[in-house]
Each structure stands twice: as structure tokens, then as C-alpha cells.
């Protein structure tokens, strides 16, 4: 049995599985928050093995069955992800990477392929801590960013060495239109994880640039507002009474556009300079 604690307020998820699946669970996308210490749990997952098939149950109710342990793990990961996101009901969820440096939080908001995972990996190597490379969870009242750690999901466009990737869990991800190969790489390979909420300082809207270098420009409040709404996973939170929260965010946080080609191709000195500029804004 292992335990995952996530959310605001924290909720614990207990996972029970056959010993034969230990390695896969340890390598699952939640490897960074797996604990072996027993804790009072609100959600229970159980994987049973019987008649050559695996059965996944959530709180006693069968949700998936399959012969492939990989597919059961995949289903489990998505369900746990949903549980975790549901546990941040009053918080804004942005399509963003969240990182911290010296207890200050930074959001990197952008579409798929804009460089959220890449910049997360590069900055972690420079001493930044990761809250999440995909879900920027922000409490609109306190302006605190919450951690949502999970393994990096390395897609084909990420410039990560093939031999390096093969050391980790590699699966095919079905997008609906096609299958793309992905690898789950533990965050610890790149650096440290931030396990505590941190106060947001700057927000960067990532935009792909053809230029091989990078460019940071301050963004006005109206443009920042429009971009924030565009990248909000849960716009239903945006009601009359939350307008003031969003204005609080606009009035207290600095917003920038970060034009970025591929942070991996920057020289070491450029990466360090980028890191410094991002910290100060």
C-alpha cells in the first residue's frame, strides 16, 4: 500500500496493488509524492489480479479491467489526476508550469508546445524548484501557487536523448488521432520539487519564437487579463464575485511575455542570464 497526498485542503489517496506492480507504481507519474507511511485516506484505489486480468477499483467500485498492467496504471494515473484536480475546486487552474525560486512563485503560462516542460527542466538544473509543468494551481485570494508534482511526460518534440529516455518508463500515448511515444521521467533527475505553496511573484506568458535567443517584455493589464482567461482550465470559476480576485491578481503580480525558441539550445551563460531575468522580472 502507498499513499499520495494532494490538494487544498490536503486529501490522501491510498493505493493497494499486487507486489508484481510495485516497480510500475513507483515509476508512475506520481512517483515524487508517493509515501509509504500510513495515513488516513479519503479515496482508496485497489488493483486486484485474478483470472489473468487486472481489476481497478475506486472506493470499492470497479472502474477498469484489462490484461495489460500498463493500461491499468495509465487508467489509474488519469483517475488520480482527476481526483487531485477536483480537490482544488476554489482555485484557478491554468495551463501552465509553476516553479519557485527563493520561496517566490512563478507561472509560465502557454499552449501545448510553447515550452512549459522544456523551461521547467532547464530552470530546475539552475536551482529552481518545480511545482508542476502542466497545471498552475493558484488560490485567487492568497495568490499562492500550489504544488502539483508528477513525472515529466517527455514527448517526441522534447530534445531529450533517446538513450536517456529509454532508462525510464516508455509508453504510447493515444491522442485520438495518433499514437505518440512518451517517456515518464522522474522530476528528481532534473532537480528539486517544491512541496509547499508559495506566493506568486511573476507570470510569464510563453510564446514560441523563431529567433534562437529569448526576449522578455512587460505586458499591460488588459493583455494579461485576456491571456489569463484564455488559459484558464476552469473559467466557470470566473463569476461576478471573483472579478475582484482576478483584479487583485492583476494589481499585485507582474506580467510578461516570454518569447522563447528552445531553452535547451541556449548557451550556459544565456540560460543563467535568462534565469536571473526571470527571477527579477
Amino acid at each position: 500500500m502507498v499513499y499520495l497526498t494532494i490538494g487544498n485542503p490536503p486529501k490522501t489517496i491510498a493505493l493497494n496493488f499486487p507486489d508484481s506492480m510495485s516497480k510500475q507504481i513507483e515509476n508512475s507519474i506520481f512517483s515524487t509524492i508517493i509515501s509509504h507511511e500510513s495515513a488516513e485516506s479519503q479515496i482508496y484505489y485497489n488493483i486486484d489480479h485474478s483470472n489473468n486480468k487486472l481489476y481497478l477499483q475506486r472506493n470499492g467500485r470497479l472502474t477498469h479491467q484489462n490484461k495489460s498492467s500498463q493500461k491499468i496504471i495509465y487508467a489509474l494515473e488519469w483517475q488520480v489526476l482527476k481526483d487531485a484536480l477536483n480537490n482544488y475546486k476554489k482555485d484557478y487552474k491554468f495551463h501552465a508550469a509553476g516553479l519557485s525560486y527563493n520561496n517566490n512563485g512563478y507561472l509560465f503560462i502557454g499552449d501545448s508546445g510553447s515550452g512549459k516542460t522544456s523551461i521547467s527542466m532547464v530552470l530546475m538544473k539552475l536551482g529552481w524548484k518545480l511545482l508542476s509543468d502542466e497545471f498552475g494551481i493558484l488560490n485567487p485570494g492568497s495568490l499562492k501557487l500550489y504544488p502539483f508534482p508528477r513525472n515529466f511526460i517527455i514527448k517526441p518534440h522534447h530534445p531529450v536523448d533517446k538513450d536517456f529516455k529509454s532508462r525510464f518508463v516508455n509508453v504510447a500515448y493515444n491522442t485520438g488521432a495518433q499514437k505518440i511515444p512518451i517517456a515518464y521521467i522522474p522530476l528528481s533527475v532534473f532537480g528539486k520539487v517544491e512541496n509547499h505553496p508559495v506566493k506568486l511573484k511573476n507570470v510569464y506568458f510563453l510564446k514560441y519564437s523563431e529567433s534562437s535567443t529569448y526576449c522578455i517584455t512587460p505586458l499591460g493589464q488588459t493583455a494579461a487579463f485576456a491571456n489569463l482567461l484564455k488559459q484558464l482550465y476552469n473559467p466557470q470559476l470566473f463569476k461576478r464575485n471573483s472579478l475582484d480576485h482576478l483584479l487583485n491578481l492583476l494589481n499585485n503580480i507582474s506580467f510578461f511575455q516570454l518569447l522563447l525558441h528552445n531553452p535547451f539550445t541556449l548557451e550556459t551563460s544565456q540560460k543563467e542570464s535568462l534565469s536571473k531575468q526571470l527571477i527579477s522580472g
Partner: protein, 93 residues
């Protein structure tokens, strides 16, 4: 496109929330939860859609307070008020 009568006094819709920002403003329609972002000149025009100022007054104020326009001030005011009207944000003539 016909111009709005210079003597017309536009009035903004009562139930629309106006929130000023450092470089413009937000208009929020509570019923539909639709948000509009305004640039500084559009925000300035919105503030003066109070039933006291005529189109002519607003053009004079805009000329006095704003220097850079893509359009002539008169055309800019006409265009913005017409857009507000099309969106149901201010009264029609």
C-alpha cells in the same frame, strides 16, 4: 457608415460592471458572464457615456486628453460608440 448625431447623449447599461486597469479597463456583463477589455481611449469614452455628455462633448474631451489615434478622434469615438451599441452596452439613438 452614417455618423451618430453629435447631440446624442449615450448612456451605459446600468448592470455592467466597469473595472479600471492601468492600461484600460474591463467591462463585465453579469447575466451572460461576458467580459470585454477596453484600451485607454475606449475606457475613457465609456466613462463619459453617462447621459450628460453628447458625442460632440466626448470628441472634444478625447482630442484634449489623447494624442495618438489610428483614426481621427471623431471617427474613433463614432466607431467605439457604435461597437458599444452593437454589443448592447450603451443606449441607441
Amino acid at each position: 457608415m452614417p455618423e451618430i448625431d453629435n447631440k446624442f447623449r449615450p448612456i451605459s447599461n446600468d448592470n455592467i460592471l466597469f473595472k479600471p486597469l492601468s492600461d484600460g479597463a474591463i467591462l463585465f456583463e453579469p447575466d451572460s458572464e461576458v467580459v470585454h477589455t477596453l484600451n485607454p481611449s475606449a475606457a475613457y469614452i465609456w466613462i463619459h457615456c453617462d447621459g450628460n455628455h453628447t458625442i460632440s462633448d466626448i470628441i472634444t474631451l478625447i482630442k484634449k486628453n489623447f494624442s495618438e489615434f489610428e483614426l481621427q478622434p471623431k471617427d474613433a469615438v463614432n466607431s467605439i460608440i457604435k461597437e458599444f451599441q452593437a454589443l448592447g452596452l450603451v443606449s441607441s439613438e
